[in-house]
């Protein structure tokens, strides 16, 4: 016999672990990881990847779980006031704004990709990719992005799908932790693993000459796992590994703290964090490496896949995979395609739901909104904020959101929270906050790692992102600097982004009036999207200020 407790809480421990794992497992596990591995040393990539997981990923997981539980036991469920409860310096609650801002901004564009996966499941099930050609599949994706009629025969179906996806997220969130988020994780995670195992098996056992394949699936595995140990001396490979660990675990977002804030003081977090973290690694390394690349190489060959990976993982997933599955025959192709996009959808949904909970918790705690109001307000904000990324996807607004909210903000927030935890809150209190009620004792060495190594690692990643050199070749760039030739920034360096280096270059080489006008319009949109993100950040700061004053009055 069970009954519900009065306050909001998780239903079961397994539900909490699955929700945390679902938060971490995202589209990147299946699309980003294999491409990163291929581009950064193949099998050798797993070495820096593991080291970064041990020195940065696992410590950050424990720090964020402990921070969340500490704040939650003081009645806070979002990072501004969770961080505020750890120190007397009120500035930290404004650092905590990152933990709400990042989620709103990332959810805005993430729900758009999620809506692609949802549309592609439906398209696959309705047989739209049966007897198709690579050109048709690629053209259909272009039409979809350009809002031309493709699937329903109506224009703007991408916007329609985006709206459905946002409504779905808000509806699940409005159901609460147990009946919404946890139930979605309990359904989504097992389905995702089941689909992943089935597709991995199909990928590995793919035989040349069968189902239209020209190579065995093991050729792709060989390509992905063959180690190039010389890559280990390249700092860019290590930065890529650190970046992958960072993004796959969803650290630096504020979602882990929010989920952990519903855990009581005497309940375990050390084992739960390990279970959720390693479950994510299983999905990423064991399943993620055995689907996309083996299947794509089996049909397209290594050279073509290498060319496609240069254009990004999304293209490979949505422009290529539907055609490859169609080669498996009508029924099997539909089943495999629906499973592939279905697993991407579940991975996306469990992550986007996690992005909604900090905002919901913030409004419930500080402005006494009920869960339904808070959840639907999340949906409204995500819709409004996401619409520019949908409408101006081709003009780079989507990438701009991803860069500032989904990349820079995460690293910055993780760096600041690790400093707060280890150096301001203090490592002695921090160590107790991690180990209280733990089912496993964290090895003592992590006290040193959390205090020194993790913040140093994060600082290195941040500085490297700030100053990344052209061609990502650090040795050559440092040599040129010492020779007095100055420093050329990569277009992806934060400094170069702020100076609009890439778009200014494109304007300079633009051919003709129309192309130049297009580039100038793109520049305006990019600057506009940055302003929009700044306004959102400022707006949340204002809400935190008002909430702080309300607290003082109370």
């Amino acid at each position: 016999m069970v009954r519900k407790k009065d306050n909001e809480s998780w239903g079961t421990r397994l539900g909490l672990v699955l929700a945390m794992a679902g938060n971490a497992v995202g589209l990147g596990n299946f699309l980003r990881f294999p491409v990163q591995a291929v581009q950064n040393g193949g099998g050798a990539f797993i070495i820096p990847y593991f080291i970064c997981f041990l020195l940065m990923g696992i410590p950050l997981l424990w720090v964020e779980w402990a921070t969340g539980r500490f704040g939650g036991n003081k009645g806070h469920h979002s990072t501004p006031f969770i961080l505020d409860s750890m120190t007397k310096q009120s500035i930290w609650k404004y650092v905590g704004v990152f933990g709400i801002f990042t989620n709103l901004a990332v959810a805005a564009y993430y729900c758009y990709i999620e809506s692609w996966t949802m549309t592609y499941v439906v398209k696959t099930l309705l047989g739209h990719f049966v007897n198709t050609t690579p050109e048709k599949v690629s053209a259909a994706f272009d039409c979809y992005l350009d809002f031309d009629p493709t699937f329903t025969g109506l224009p703007f179906e991408a916007v329609f799908a985006f709206v459905i996806c946002v409504i779905l997220n808000a509806w699940v969130l409005s159901k609460g932790l147990v009946d919404g988020v946890e139930k979605a994780a309990k359904i989504g995670m097992p389905m995702l693993i089941l689909f992943g195992v089935a597709l991995s098996f199909s990928g590995i056992t793919l035989q040349a000459g069968e189902r239209g394949a020209i190579y065995d699936g093991t050729v792709g595995l060989n390509y992905l796992w063959t180690p190039d140990f010389t890559s280990l001396t390249n700092p860019s490979v290590w930065l890529a590994a650190a970046g992958q660990i960072f993004f796959t675990l969803s650290v630096g977002m504020g979602t882990i703290q929010c989920y952990a804030s519903y855990v009581k003081k005497n309940d375990d977090i050390t084992l739960n964090a390990m279970s959720a973290g390693w479950m994510n690694e299983f999905v990423e390394v064991c399943l993620g490496s055995a689907i996309l690349i083996p299947i794509a190489v089996g049909y397209l060959g290594i050279d073509k896949v290498l060319e496609l990976t240069q254009q990004g993982a999304l293209g490979l997933g949505f422009r290529t995979m539907p055609y490859l599955f169609s080669q498996w025959g009508e029924v099997l192709g539909i089943v495999a395609g629906a499973m592939f996009f279905g697993l991407l959808f579940f991975a996306g949904l469990t992550s986007s739901l996690a992005m909604g909970t900090p905002w919901v918790g913030f409004l419930q705690d500080e402005f006494k909104w009920n869960r339904k109001q808070a959840a639907w307000s999340f949906g409204a904000i995500v819709f409004m904020l996401g619409l520019p990324t949908v409408l101006f996807f081709r003009q780079g607004v989507f990438d701009e959101f991803d860069y500032w909210a989904g990349t820079v903000s995460l690293v910055l927030f993780a760096l600041l929270e690790s400093i707060l935890f280890a150096w301001i809150f203090g490592m002695d209190k921090g160590w107790k906050a991690i180990n209280d009620g733990g089912d496993i004792q964290v090895p003592e060495i992590f006290k040193f790692i959390i205090k020194y190594v993790t913040p140093a690692f994060l600082l290195l990643v941040f500085v490297a992102s700030l100053l990344a050199p052209e061609g990502r070749n650090w040795y050559v760039s440092v040599g040129q600097l010492l020779d007095g030739q100055g420093w050329s920034f990569s277009d992806q360096a934060i400094v170069a982004k702020l100076m609009n280096q890439d778009i200014n270059k494109a304007i300079l080489v633009a051919d003709g009036f129309q192309q130049k006008a297009d580039m100038l319009f793109k520049k305006e949109l990019i600057n506009g999207s940055r302003l929009l993100l700044l306004l959102v950040f400022g707006g949340i700061c204002l809400l935190v200020y008002i909430a702080g004053n309300n607290r003082k009055k109370r």
């Binding site: 079961t12 193949g42 005497n266 309940d267 299983f282």
Partner: protein, 45 residues
């Protein structure tokens, strides 16, 4: 597959899958805490 690729793949997969299963098993086997705990669905009437 060449030997080095095979070794890298098998060792990474075995280590990760084993640890993922081990920690999940520990979670499933862990004793329930005395009330009040963090979970609503194990409150006995």
């Amino acid at each position: 597959m060449n030997a080095s690729a095979l070794w890298m793949m098998i060792s990474a997969n075995v280590v990760i899958a084993s640890l993922a299963v081990y920690f999940l098993w520990r979670v499933l086997r862990a004793k329930k805490r005395p009330e009040p705990d963090s979970f609503s669905e194990n409150v006995e009437d």
